[in-house]
Symmetry: C2
Subunit: 200 residues, 2 copies
């Protein structure tokens, strides 16, 4: 069997990704991942040497997949409202797939901060697509096309309204007495609603 077949390796990654970031079982054991994938646990070591290596790889891959087209959309030169609409759609679809990825990333960043002292090197301000978008929002505000606030609030509102209802889906379903279908319908309605709130 001289040709690397990659099937199992890919299957491990996909399963781990699902267990970690779709189901939110961030500290699943290698045995649990192996079971979920229907393979022998040792294969994880064969392909990835250690659990840590697998985890790091999965995080990296999930991030890439999550960001996906978002940055492209934000960097495009569409009119602000249409750009925002597309961004909302793309972003909310990704969220549905990996609801825990963003939570995980946040916790990690917090841990970093807690370990760092004040002496540490300030990160250089690189102009991210978000910053570009922020500038455009600012212009639209001063042009009077969007209600004027601190543009930071615009961004926070945007992400809040998109992300929270998705990551808290089960809690909110319980709280609001809605079943899966009803809640999904609500989530879909929100795409337009969010746009209305932001540009009202």
């Amino acid at each position: 069997m001289p040709i690397k077949d990659c099937q199992t390796e890919k299957h491990i990654v996909d399963t781990a990704m699902k267990v970690f970031f779709t189901e939110g079982r961030i500290n699943a054991t290698t045995q649990e991942i192996a079971d979920a994938a229907g393979i022998n646990r040792t294969l994880i070591n064969y392909y990835f040497r250690s659990k840590k290596t697998l985890f790091n790889y999965v995080v990296k891959k999930a991030k890439e997949e999550f960001i996906g087209n978002s940055d492209l959309i934000l960097s495009s030169d569409l009119p602000i409202k249409e750009k925002t609409e597309r961004f909302i759609d793309d972003f909310m679809n990704n969220l549905e797939k990996y609801p825990y990825l963003e939570s995980y990333m946040t916790v990690e960043i917090i841990k970093q901060r807690l370990n760092k002292n004040d002496l540490d090197v300030p990160e250089e301000k690189q102009p991210t697509p978000i910053n570009k978008y922020l500038n455009e929002i600012e212009k639209e505000m001063s042009a009077g096309n969007i209600p004027a606030t601190n543009p930071v609030h615009f961004i926070l509102n945007l992400f809040s309204l998109m992300i929270y209802p998705q990551i808290m889906k089960p809690l909110q379903m319980k709280l609001l007495n809605l079943n899966e279908n009803e809640y999904n319908k609500i989530l879909d309605e929100r795409k337009q609603l969010i746009l209305t709130i932001l540009f009202s």
Copy 2:
């Protein structure tokens, strides 16, 4: 020493609460908790028999403390806007203290759902303070005092706008190039802004 002194016990609970739900280190080891508390690890077993017992106790206590006055405020007969204003203030202050409690609760509920099959007993609909509040919102909408949507959206918007910016604080600080003080100022501004958005 016939009288239980409670000092160490309380100290363990407080430290565990902080480690789990303020710092977000949900799977900290007993040794790490003991270190954070500056005590011998065995004392955790002395007071709580097992790690699980401690954890359950801390979860219960944190929930109680978190919910705090919220339910009282929601159940009160204040005018809707003032009620909402107070709720926002109370809730956002609690969030600052235990940013990870709500995330944790969600993950747990998801896990429950994933293990349950469709045959399981439907939970009886108990009229929670949230449901009472929801009814009031509905009335205000039909009276034309609040923009009419599905009241569920009102609730989702409320929680989204409050919770997300708090739990994602470190990520957003990085993304938006803000320091701690700047971000806290933003968070405080939001209390009024959220009210405006909801009742505009």
